[in-house]
């Protein structure tokens, strides 16, 4: 589920540990750069060039191309840096949650409301 090798026994929950951090370094470095609006624009202008600059692995490049959160996490992405990538497309953490759980955003939001009862 996560990118690490160790099973921490918490279902459905990636643990971003040293293994994941090593695997995801280039991907997370790119997403960290999106703190800057200028870098976000550069990515939008030429996605290929921007990914190449950070040396993404083919798996990471494909996950970015697919805008697929599960693939990004499997490739070592850390959710806090990935959120900055999602921000480029105006996606929020509920979009990200819906995608990962295979729900519509409305259904995901309803699930959250239900958790509060």
């Amino acid at each position: 589920m996560g990118a690490g090798k160790k099973d921490y026994g918490i279902p459905g929950t990636p643990i971003f540990d040293g293994d994941a951090a090593q695997k995801g370094y280039a991907l997370n470095a790119m997403c960290y750069s999106f703190n800057s609006a200028e870098n976000r624009e550069a990515f939008k202008r030429d996605e290929d060039a921007y990914c190449a600059k950070f040396g993404l692995s083919p798996e990471q490049r494909a996950a970015i191309a697919n805008r697929n959160v599960q693939q990004l996490i499997a490739a070592g992405g850390n959710i806090y840096y990935l959120a900055k990538f999602a921000g480029i497309f105006g996606l929020d953490v509920q979009d990200v949650g819906a995608q990962q759980t295979g729900m519509t955003k409305e259904a995901f939001k309803a699930k959250l409301v239900e958790a509060g009862r």
């Binding site: 470095a29 850390n78 921000g87 958790a115």
Partner: protein, 287 residues
């Protein structure tokens, strides 16, 4: 010596910044959340803190995986805010208090905390939005801050027990600070939430309510959990509870609960709010 007036623990999520910017405080979705804060502002008007010591995590703004500190203490004259990637409105910089920062740094290192000392630091939504909730309306922030960040980005995380001890040491530092300043302790983050994995959207209301109760009366109970216990019980990002635990550790003596609120959901998060007053400080009584 400085006086700790009390402690505010509150959730933070980036979406709050959007709601404030768009004036949505009275929308049905947001009202139960924003309605929690006027009583806190009334309390702040009474106890009038000069400076806040704030515990929170940096969400990948200052620190990257190249050099990621477990605990970092700000010692800057001013802390700018940033949009963090989402283009949300950037709030005003907040003034620092280098004298208190260095007093805390000296105390922490003497107490064997291996902190990272930061003469430059930006603040993200974990500090800017709580400030905006406590002192709304724009204008300059009427408070100085000492930011203390805790790693919740990359495992191994510090433990709840270590976070408590960090808070204790900071509390001792503030109480030994040669100043007549009134100091607020702030802890931001949580409560239960999970952004990543198939369990995204996980919330644990019974656990949150137990924690909010324990934080008033039996806070050390929470130091028996490991960081991974918190991941299991409070969700992958629910480990931010440790900022509340540190803030509570920094709060000396007898406390009373001034106010609390709990509402699910705000964004993906169970939003909690808890205000404690230090009963050992000479503070004005409520009207």
């Amino acid at each position: 010596m400085a006086t700790i007036v009390g402690t505010i623990m509150t959730s933070h999520v980036p979406a709050i910044g959007g709601a404030i910017a768009k004036g949505r405080q009275s929308d049905p979705y947001w009202k139960p959340f924003f309605d929690g804060y006027p009583p806190v502002r009334a309390w702040l008007d009474r106890v009038k803190p000069d400076v806040a010591v704030a515990f929170f995590q940096d969400h990948g703004l200052n620190f990257f995986l190249d050099k990621l500190p477990t605990f970092a203490v700000g010692a800057a004259p001013e802390y700018p805010n940033a949009d963090e990637g989402w283009g949300i409105p950037t709030l005003k910089p907040v003034k620092g208090d280098p004298a208190l920062s260095w007093h805390i740094i000296n105390t922490l290192v003497a107490d064997e905390f291996d902190i990272t000392m930061c003469q430059q630091m930006q603040i993200d939504h974990a500090l800017s939005l709580p400030l905006a909730l406590l002192w709304p309306g724009g204008g300059d922030w009427p408070i100085r801050v000492v930011p203390i960040t805790m790693n919740h980005v990359q495992h191994p995380l510090p433990s709840p027990k270590r976070s408590w001890k960090l808070g204790e040491s900071v509390g001792r530092a503030v109480q030994s600070w040669d100043s007549d300043a009134r100091v607020l302790v702030l802890g931001t983050g949580g409560l239960s939430h999970q952004l990543d994995g198939e369990r995204a959207g996980f919330i644990n209301k019974p656990f949150d309510l137990m924690c909010m109760d324990a934080l008033v009366n039996d806070p050390q109970k929470l130091t028996r959990y490991s960081a991974l216990d918190l991941v299991r019980e409070a969700g992958a990002q629910g480990t931010e509870l440790m900022a509340w635990i540190a803030a509570r550790g920094a709060t000396p003596g007898r406390v009373t609960k001034v106010h609390s609120n709990y509402h699910v959901p705000i964004s993906n998060t169970a939003a909690g709010l808890l205000v404690l007053q230090n009963e050992d400080a000479a503070l004005p009584k409520a009207a």
